[in-house]
């Protein structure tokens, strides 16, 4: 039980919630209002949904020893495409506002997802087919992609005036945020794919040793291609969610630094950046930790600027705790203390 890799991220999340319990009055209170559930926890989960999605995609990429730093740009692209195609106008008919979209919303969403998947195809092509280093291959889209989104919108923020679209990011289903259901749905699909098919095993094999995996008959290139496509698709959904939540597409700021948060969430969840081992549940917990941390910092009245410092210290701490060298150092220093503590613990 103590060996369970999820223990550490769970403990971190529990510690955070414990701090919240003492520091923020009414943190765990949930209220039922207008058929919706309200409360800090719901808020955290709702805001974490885009991050959970991107982190899920990123987990698979990192599991194959890759990295995708273009997810922020993909979020901007998919949000922009959706917002531009839906657009929407509010017309007053006899004093009643009516909302009309430019093209049917389903098509707009399909186009946005298509654009996101196309980004993934591009990344996959560069990494799997051409054999570029993942960080550089995705750097190209990270730099160019945001420029493309800005070009599409002419650098302006595209506002959406079409109510049904807002449901994705801020709607409620059975009293819970709809974005939560999307996140759960994607998680379930990925988890099923990883557990019930050999895909998870193949991804691990590629991450541990790509050459050996190829020699063992795994179609490495196709697998890596798929992983980048999936990651971009996840980012595309996150982009829809974000743009629907803020009721507009902001090519300059949507998903800015999201790739870093996603990588952070994956690392916090115990997935090694060296590839091979991965944990989907861990990444979800990691994303929740980040969002809870942000929420805690904001609601404790600490200036939001401290957020980045705290985040960076958490990353340093988590990375160090994952390093065997550091643990060796730690156990050398603390083994004496730990022994005396266990002796003390036995006495009563």
């Amino acid at each position: 039980m103590l060996r369970n890799p999820l223990l550490r991220p769970l403990a971190a999340l529990a510690l955070l919630l414990l701090i919240d319990f003492f520091m923020i009055p009414g943190f765990f209170r949930l209220e039922w209002k207008d058929g919706h559930l309200y409360g800090s926890l719901i808020d955290i989960v709702n805001r974490a949904a885009p991050l959970i999605l991107t982190a899920l995609g990123m987990t698979l990429v990192i599991a194959t020893r890759g990295i995708d730093i273009s997810v922020g740009a993909v979020v901007a692209i998919s949000g922009t495409v959706a917002a531009m195609l839906i657009g929407g106008t509010m017309q007053m008919h006899d004093g009643v506002p009516e909302y009309a979209s430019r093209i049917p919303m389903v098509w707009a969403i399909a186009a946005a997802m298509g654009a996101a998947i196309l980004c993934g195809v591009w990344n996959g092509f560069l990494v799997a087919t051409l054999g570029l280093q993942p960080i550089i291959a995705t750097l190209i889209l990270m730099v160019g992609g945001r420029g493309l989104a800005q070009l599409l919108t002419d650098g302006q923020i595209v506002t959406v005036y079409y109510k049904p679209f807002f449901y994705i990011g801020s709607g409620y289903l059975f009293g819970l945020p709809f974005s939560l259901f999307i996140a759960i749905g994607v998680f379930a699909i990925v988890a099923l794919m990883m557990r019930k098919t050999a895909l998870g095993l193949f991804i691990q094999a590629v991450g541990i040793n790509p050459v050996a995996a190829r020699l063992a008959g795994i179609r490495t290139a196709a697998l890596i291609f798929f992983v980048y496509m999936f990651c971009s698709a996840c980012a595309g959904v996150a982009g829809l969610m974000i743009s629907s939540n803020i009721k507009s597409a902001d090519a300059n700021n949507a998903g800015l630094l999201l790739e870093l948060d996603a990588i952070l969430a994956v690392t916090l969840g115990g997935t090694s950046l060296a590839g091979g081992k991965f944990s989907l549940v861990g990444s979800v917990i990691g994303a929740l930790i980040i969002q809870a941390l942000t929420y805690t910092i904001y609601s404790m009245g600490v200036p939001p600027e401290v957020n980045m410092v705290v985040k960076s210290i958490v990353v340093f701490a988590v990375c160090l705790s994952q390093s065997p060298e550091f643990r060796g150092l730690g156990s050398g220093l603390f083994s004496g203390a730990a022994r005396s503590r266990s002796v003390n613990g036995k006495k009563p």
């Binding site: 800005q150 070009l151 952070l264 060296a274 985040k311 990375c319 160090l320």
Partner: protein
Amino acid sequence: MKLLRQSLSSPYFTSLATLALLIVMFVLGSFAYTGFFSLQVVLNLLIDNAFLLVIAIGMTFVILSGGIDLSVGSVLALTTMISAYLLQSWHWPPLLVIACVLLIGSMFGALMGALIHFFKLQAFIVTLAGMFLARGLCYLISINSITIDQPLYVTLSQARIGIFGAFVSPSVVIAMLMLALAIYIAHYTRFGRAVYAIGGNEQSALLMGLAVGRTKVMVYAFSGFCAALAGVLFSFYMLSGYGLHAQGTELDAIAAVVIGGTLLTGGYGYVAGTLTGVLILGLIQTLIAFDGTLSSWWTKIVIGVLLFVFCMAQRLMSLGAAGSGSATPAATAA
């Protein structure tokens, strides 16, 4: 065909290609826009990108050693912030401030290097956390922009050094001296050779008896120093300290290094190539500014396309090198 393969596998190939591209872009610009063909336009490239050049020099060493440093943009911002704070609130003498921030930058880099080397952490994630940390520390000092009105800084920001009827800023001179020093370090010192060797193959470098640990820590310290120096130049340029300064500069620096012909896997490339990389990024911006009808986001798209093209060239080159069975790139380059 043989000639093509030979030129492709030559260690100078991408650097030369970049230089050729630079010249072609400049010639095209000269024909297309009036007033483009002048020495001042070229010198303005240097004036506007002196800080980027200094950062990219540090990044070149990191990438040559097989690592990456994402914290440089934030360290630059932190430097401008600390400088502004020490000058405006504590009224420290400017030279002491500069010495102080350069030391802070180097220490910051050295600490990250130590984490990377001693605890075998990934350079990517450590410098990513360093990026967050430095940016966050900026906001701890102040969330607003602090204007610098210290006389020496103002003098340096307005000084013009004449060359053949045109002029450059003192920052350009500092950046050029830094470039000369970096070329010397990379190609004529033991440290430089160790950097190439580690980038080529860390295991062999270790077996060769090179001081791998010390060199790696020093590479990140050097990059931190360069970022801090770039911050000093940037504060001459902007006369302010601000936490939002130079966002995304780390990616511009990486792009400049790649376009300059340095292989991202390490061990292969030239510091001088980085100058051409920086000039190309600057020239794209200048061309777009001269055109006037293109929006500034075209810059990003063009940089993305160039990155792609140069990565492809690198890929072809490494295939060419493997095909002709030449000596390892690291050996030829060093």
